[in-house]
Amino acid sequence: MENLGIAFALLGAAFAAFMAGIGSAIGVGKSGEAAAGVLTEEPTLFSKVLILQLLPGTQGIYGLLIAFVCMSQIGVLGGDPNLSLAKGLLYFAACLPIGAVGLYSAISQGKASVASIGLLARRPDQFGKAMIIPVMVETYAILALLISILAISGIGGLAL
């Protein structure tokens, strides 16, 4: 029972990396299908299409970042891994925003990227507009990332 704190904290880190990573894999996969379709007909659009395909990949990076910061704070990567149950649960809660929002926002951003790749295929000169549309979804992943970082940083100073 005395090790439950570290167990919950690590579970939180795993959740952040796992969920955001799944979301990004689905999002990049969907936009990759669309990218391959357009490039079959129009190989000259490679650089523009690649940027649109990679947009849903950022959530996976955010999840990885939060998992890394969390593991470093709880002492898994070196230091003292002894955590109270309360602190462990707090770390777990701090990882939830980027895990859940990362999953859904990456999938949604993937869909928006697919639509934008279609737009680019019809109007290659409208790359700027085609990119802004899926980037809008990124806002919510960044907000979740911010909350997760602030919470993880704050938990360390609490006397629990």
């Binding site: 357009v38 279609g118 295929a121």
Partner: protein, 322 residues
């Protein structure tokens, strides 16, 4: 089960749509000389061919090869492919009962049907109708018997056409896609209207008209049949009460104007597919848009060959999808 997505295929269609003829390109073709039409089309990626038929056939074949590349299972497009099977069935029955030569009567290139023409011919020759797909069996037997007993090839064709429409409508209803459903319903309704007008002009009996009209959702075929048995005007009067009221006014002008209205109506219905990215709809819309383009090029080439003035050609060309 998760709904199947066609992301790769739709993306290829998006890029491919750019090579479809738009209204300006059609205007350019109308203004060109007959021989220049071939060159202008070649500049847009069409093959260089000697005759209009060769050109259109090659382009249709190319389109279906492209569709085969992007869609694993072509059965989703049964609504487009069934008509080729039934066309081949009509040809086979004419060959057997009417002694028509085999040369170029079958559709066996490009948009293939779901069963090979050779098999259709073989089953009809051996009177082995039960080996035909279920949707064709009854109509094949009936059309064959009618042709042999009455030598009325037109009635035989009409019976097969009705079976084709019923099969297309059933395939449309089985599809979850709105474009395919709309296409099947519209094709069935407009074919019924054309048949009713033809029967009215030829003063066919009510029982025969009932026999050749295929039931559909947007028309009451009984009322249409009664109208057709009465007069052409009675058909128009019935149509005015339906969603095809505008078509009745146009059909009064000319039959070709009515056919153009049917194509334009369908093009208008599929236009919103330009904004879809995941479903089969944009691919179905591309097939319809390409068929519409081929019809337009055929009209232009035919008119050019017969030295019809540009103004008259403009009246006959269809609205373009892109």
């Amino acid at each position: 089960m998760a709904k199947q997505e066609y992301i790769y295929g739709v993306a290829r269609v998006r890029a491919k749509e750019m090579s479809l003829l738009n209204n300006q390109a059609v205007e350019q073709l109308i203004g060109a000389k007959e021989e220049d039409v071939f060159s202008l089309l070649a500049d847009r990626g069409w093959e260089r061919k000697e005759t209009a038929e060769e050109l259109l056939s090659a382009e249709r074949e190319k389109m279906w090869k492209f569709i085969e590349e992007i869609v694993d299972d072509l059965s989703v497009f049964d609504v487009f492919l069934y008509k080729n099977d039934f066309h081949n069935l009509k040809a086979a029955i004419k060959m057997i009962c009417g002694g028509v030569k085999r040369d170029r009567v079958f559709i066996d290139n490009g948009p293939k049907g779901r069963i090979s023409p050779e098999k259709i011919l073989q089953y009809c020759e051996t009177l082995n109708f039960s080996s035909l797909p279920e949707r064709m069996r009854t109509a094949a037997k009936k059309a064959y018997t009618v042709y042999l007993e009455t030598s009325d090839s037109q009635l035989s064709d009409m019976l097969i056409d009705k079976a084709a429409l019923e099969a297309i409508l059933k395939a449309g209803e089985a599809s979850s896609n709105q474009v395919i459903q709309d296409y099947a319903e519209l094709l069935c309704a407009t074919s019924n209207i054309k048949t009713a007008l033809r029967c009215a002009a030829l003063q066919k009996s009510l029982s025969l008209i009932r026999e050749v009209l295929a039931p559909c959702k947007t028309l009451d075929v009984e009322s249409l049949a009664r109208g057709a048995a009465s007069s052409v005007d009675a058909v128009y009067q019935y149509l005015e009460k339906t969603m095809y009221g505008q078509a009745a006014d146009i059909a009064r002008e000319s039959f070709s104007a009515f056919e153009r209205w049917c194509d334009d109506f369908l093009t208008e219905k599929i236009r919103f597919q330009k904004y879809q990215s995941f479903s089969i709809g944009p691919i179905a819309a591309y097939i319809l848009a390409k068929e519409n383009e081929l019809k337009t090029v055929r009209v232009i080439l035919l008119c050019k060959k017969n030295q019809i003035p540009e103004e008259k050609i403009r009246e006959r060309v269809r609205a373009m999808y892109v």
